[in-house]
Amino acid sequence: MTTSNKPIDRLVYELQERTKELNCLYRIEERLNNDAVSFEQKLTDVVNAIPPGWQYPSVCAASLTYLDQNYQTPNYADVDWRLVEPIVVQEKRVGEIVVVYLEEMPQADVGPFLEEEVKLLRTVVDRLAHYILYQNLKTVFHDLQRVRDRITRNSIAEWRIAADMLRKTDPSLFMRILRKLLHELCWKGVEDAELLLRQSSIELKDAEGVAADENRPLKKKLINNYDEYIDTILSLANEYLNDDEILAKMQMWIKQDKSGSLIRSLESASTSLSDISEAIRKFYHMAPEKVELSPSTIKNMRVSLLRRFFTEDLNYISIAKDYVKLTDFYNLIDKMIFLPASHGKLGGKSSGVFLARHILDKSASLLDAEFPIKVPRTWHLTSDCILEFIQYNNLEEILEMKYKDVDEVRLTYPHTVQVFKNSEFPPDIVKGLSVMLDDFGHTPIVVRSSSLLEDQVGAAFSGKYKSLFLANQGTKRERLAELTDAIAEVYASTFCPDAIEYRAERGLLDFHEEMGIMVMEVVGNRIGKYFMPSFAGVAFSNNEFRWSPRIKREDGLVRLVPGLGTRAVDRLGDDYPTLIAPGRPNLRVNVAAEEQARYSPKKADVINLETNRFETVDVRDIIRDYGERYPAIENVVSNYRNGMLRRPSLFDVDFEHDDLFVTFEGLRNETSFVKQIHEILRALQEKFNTPVDIEFASDGKQFYLLQCRPQSFTTRDVGDEIPADTPKERTLFTADRFVSNGRMPEISHIVYVDPDEYGKIEDLKTLDMVGEAVGRLNNMLPRRRFILMGPGRWGSRGDVKLGVNVKYSDINNTAMLVEIARKKGGYVPDLSFGTHFFQDLVEASIRYLPLYPDDEGTFFNDDFFTRTRDAFARLLPEYEEAGVGKAVKVIDVQEETDGMILRVLLNADEDKAIALLAPPDAASDDADLPDAVRHAPVAGANRDREEEWKWRYRMAARLAARVDADKFGIKGMYIFGSSKNAIARNDSDIDLIIHVDGDAEKRRQAELWFDGWSKCLAEINFLRNGAFFEEGILDCYFVTDEDVANRNSYAMKIGAPTNPAKPLQLKRKKSNSDKDATA
């Protein structure tokens, strides 16, 4: 059992051994519980039960010594091939068991004995020791009873007799009880007891003196001997405490004392996990939940266990200690894989789910939930397994990786992954994994990281480390190989460059990162060749994307998808999860059937059991092929018929031909799912004392909780701090209604549609042109660095007068959409909340903010919007001519404010937002480079931002300096876009305009030359930051004289009034080159 890859007959043999050992234990248990025989007989029976459990029973003999008695198997003889295990009762050696082989047997783990046999003997002895302890105590109480019977009505209290008995039979227990008694006295306010406790010797008032005179000082008496000390306590007890009370307390203390070994092992930092788990088992076995421990003892044990298994985080412990029971840990250790000497923990993800589950179990409102709440069967690998794995394979040098240059990390990472994948797991872990696989059977599983760093509040590591889905099909050997492969890959992700960079940024590099692993059963059903949940998703107790003013933040948000929840977790570019606000389930994002269908999930993530792969498939295909077999399909899809979306009737739905869309209408209307998830979020938020987000999945019947963590861990939705006093001249506007959290980048341009001027436009055509102009600006201004502000409802489809008529494609590059509601004749118009393209906004992280400038307490800087210069005419002269310019203003913030940028701070907790002019994050130190426009601190990216655009700019400049302009007929080179505007990210390309003379052959050669460089720079970029460009990193636009003259396409950028392409210095032509060109 300690080595893998054994021939089958060997395995069978070993299994037989284990059976024998188990039988041995059962027999002993049976004998000890047989009350028909005497104590002595029982011991004899135990001895006789031992040899059959050993590998060679015929030559095996045993002997048991207890106190002075000896019990032996008939064939026992003193020989050298022996195992000895002492019997310890209450820390006192009271005897021993010896097992011998009468003949010399082949060498095994310990002499001729197997390791398992050593353990077996230990277990037998432990069990026996418990039994003896129990018998002793029973004797004590038995005696007590006898004495009591004899001396009823005697002046000596019963408890005194019991105490005396105890003193004789078990002095150390007696002393512990005595101490408790002393504490009890102190607690009752007995002064002398307090003194005794503090000094261990006191002056005691004379018992006889009490009756004399209350005002006279008491006679003092000095205690200095041990017996006297005991007697003093006993007499104090006699004096101040009620007899029955003491007796009851004593009984409880004696029972409590049994839990002592567990407590002691928990208190000591040096105890390993296996010792603890052994102690839990023992404790549980001895008295499962029957022991009446005091609340404080229980709490203490829970806290110790939480600390050892999960985290030192005080917040967590203080909440969890009220919700977890010792039984929970007992159940947990059965599904834990750890090394014998482990001190590891289970990690962040595990602790979140563990606590959440127990909170929900105790939540009264969820007791009869329509979808019973469960956690999928989960196994845990403790966090230090990864270290053992590394040591076992001599991979220690990888631990230093995190201190290396990120380039180097990136370069070696693919190699690291392969090394990890090709490494062996230590046999103990393999053994555990094998048991685990048997437990799971052939159901698909997911291997998830559960990192200790996830405990660090604020560090959202979720996306950095991997989660891998396994189909878990095939032979055991194949499954095990896939599993270890997956675990190795997740382990390797600890050393992935992104994670290391992220940690470096947060100063977490020195944190000793151990990674726990959670292996979870995938929730779902087999549907045809696929395995998937009926539905899954994520839910937030705070809603940061509200589509109606009637939805409050605490109404929460659910993102629901068919299939695996992976598609709900990430914002999708090309698909839409169903959004529900559980507090307001009836307010839908999309009202018209057409909209509902358009914004419905079209794809699903599934596990393909035939290819053993995780796949993304079309929902329509699944419904068409397997609709009949999809559990609870009637709650998932709706039938689009006659302009209405209806829950399908299973009686007449035609999965092949009907127009079916995933809407979850049935789930909303016909089940209590939404109400239930609202309860869940409420309960968790209340107990965690912070907004939470959860991941969940359902097989159609049950609700499985997959993850739970504070919502603040998702950094992108944390509120900004709103400064208290800001100078008016630097404030553009404030808002105090319907504010959602969300990080905004630094804003360089504002597109402002003046509500008054817009209202004055008299003809429809001009109104439509305003929308067109906005669309044009959307493609000209730097992406996500401008905001759109305008009256009423953006994208209004009814009356263009009420809001600028735009489609999503006209606004998709903005960072924020602001709707201004100005009072009109005493009433404030309703705003759209972006409903016309709400889901597009959500998936693109475009923020929405309504402004009510006429509200009291809000501020709107009319002066700024009128005073500043307008860049509109320069940008769109043709629209200026048409009279659109009056209504639309483009403000170049930097130009108007001496280099400041606009910062929009949002805080949903305070329901406040403010737009402030502020200096950019950092000033450029490189005078050679264009005016730097800094980017906002978007998690994990700002550190490099500087680097990224500088490198790109520099490379472009080098190319210009090196290219043979004559040979390729190049007249000029220009850089534009993100690299020029200093906003390039690791995945930004380099946009170049190359002005050529029109010779086709030269141009062809130039294209080749640039293409080569493009691929080469892409490779270098990959090594720098991990972003890969398959087609190369350069985006070259070739323009001719004609294009430049006509300002065609990209040639327009050359010398453009705003954001023009910047010329790059070409290599000087040979004819006039006295000195080298400088880049």
């Binding site: 009836n586 059937a593 006659n642 209202g759 004055k760 209004s796 009814g798 009356d799 263009v800």
Partner: protein, 428 residues
């Protein structure tokens, strides 16, 4: 209501005044047609989900019912204004008149944002609307229909309330109902087919055989798909179709010189008219920029997607070969482009007429409901053909006789009929 700025009703009145001048209408006729005959403004209290009562403002404007019961949609819009509703009601009068169906023009609305209302609240709103108006609407005096943000579901709620109040079944009270609940077959095809009926007639007049023509279509939604279907049945060949790509947020044109295969293309199209680029390419379609549909060397252009598509700039790209522009969409041609097309002798079938198949079919729905006998799809479509064809010829005749551009002729004929009805009734 704002006093300055764009006013839809004033615009509609100005347009009417122009036609009235052409027709040299008497003052009294102008007076009765410049203003709606009746308007209802009323409150609708609704018990909201949270137990509170919220009062909504509802309207119904009956512009003219000289030719028959009023017909027009009900809009749910948060910033509805009565002027918008008035303009649209007037528009409905002309629309019914141009295809010569015996209905007048109405429009209604409620100031509300359905995005802020639960389905239950919307139902109460619909029923409340009907309760306020039950005695002033009905199959014999004013027939509502779905419009902005109202759906067949809303129509059914309203119908149910109306029937509960009336104590009898009146399926003809409202149109836009689902098939089986009083809806008419052929409604999905109606608009697209209607466009092609008018194209067919125009080609006849030009003595051109449909099977010798080529067409290019903008948009691949419901209207386009059925227009292409019928046009291909007539033997014509569509060489280019454009469609909106939701993911790329731009449109693409799909061209194949041997002609597009409608069914093949439908198979790779989502139900919103988005064609899968890659699959189209593999089927031999050229994927071009969305604007490419307009520059194709074809005989017929069918803009069936958005407004203002043929404008000052794009009109230059229209091939000399183009003989007919059939406006499947509303307002696809700007006035400047209109003038240029006129100059070049292109035959424009105005939206007003070309896409009247929809309203005609609504009329059929009402007719069938009133007699409680429902036609087969073929019968509906045959009757549609008859209506559209005769409407087309009447407009064409007038245009020829008075030397008007088709667009103006359609307007003139519509107003003329209503004016005549008013005079006949001695209203003016």
């Amino acid at each position: 209501m704002a006093t300055s700025g764009f006013n839809a009703f004033e615009m509609a009145q100005a347009q009417f005044d122009k036609v009235a001048d052409i027709l040299q209408l008497e003052e009294s006729v102008r007076d009765i047609l410049r203003q709606p005959m009746r308007e209802y403004h009323f409150n609708i209290p609704v018990h909201m989900d949270d137990g509170k009562v919220k009062v909504f403002r509802g309207f119904r404007v009956q512009h003219n019912d000289a030719r028959g019961p009023g017909k027009g949609g009900i809009r749910f819009h948060p910033q509805e204004t009565v002027d918008t509703v008035r303009a649209l009601a007037m528009w409905m009068t002309w629309k019914c008149s141009v295809v010569n169906i015996p209905l007048g023009g109405s429009k209604g609305g409620v100031i509300c944002d359905p995005h802020n209302l639960s389905m239950r609240e919307q139902e109460l709103l619909c029923r409340g609307w009907v309760r306020q108006l039950a005695k002033d609407v009905g199959p014999l005096n004013d027939v509502p229909a779905p419009d902005v943000m109202t759906s067949p579901q809303h129509m059914l709620w309203m119908l149910d309330e109306f029937e509960a109040i009336s104590g009898a079944k009146y399926p003809g009270f409202i149109t836009g109902k689902p098939v089986g609940m009083g809806g008419s077959l052929g409604r999905t095809e109606a608009t697209g087919y209607g466009v092609v009926y008018t194209i067919r007639e125009a080609l006849k007049l030009m003595n051109v055989k449909p099977e010798e023509t080529f067409a290019s279509v903008q948009g691949f939604g419901n209207v386009s798909q059925y227009a292409i279907q019928l046009y291909q049945r007539l033997g014509g060949k569509v060489v280019c179709v454009s469609s909106w790509d939701q993911q790329d947020q731009k449109s693409y044109a799909f061209r194949r010189d041997v002609g597009v295969d409608l069914e093949e293309l439908q198979r790779i199209t989502d139900r919103f008219g988005g064609v899968d680029k890659e699959k189209a390419q593999s089927l031999g379609y050229e994927v071009l920029d969305g604007d490419a549909w307009i520059e194709q060397d074809v005989d017929i252009l069918i803009p069936a997607a958005l407004e203002n598509q043929i404008n000052k700039t794009t009109v230059e790209k229209v091939s000399d070969r183009v003989k007919i522009v059939a406006e499947g969409a509303n307002g696809p041609t700007t006035p400047e482009a209109d003038a240029i097309l006129e100059e070049r002798g292109v035959y424009v079938i105005p939206d007003f007429l070309a896409n009247a198949g929809g309203v005609t079919c609504s009329y059929f729905e009402q007719v069938q409901c009133n007699m409680n006998y429902f036609w087969e799809k073929e019968e509906t479509l045959t009757r549609l053909d008859t209506k559209m064809t005769s409407a087309f010829h009447e407009v064409h005749e007038l245009a020829k006789k008075r030397d008007l551009f088709m667009r103006d002729a359609a307007y003139v004929i519509a107003v003329k009929r209503v004016a005549q009805a008013c005079k006949d009734r001695a209203w003016a």
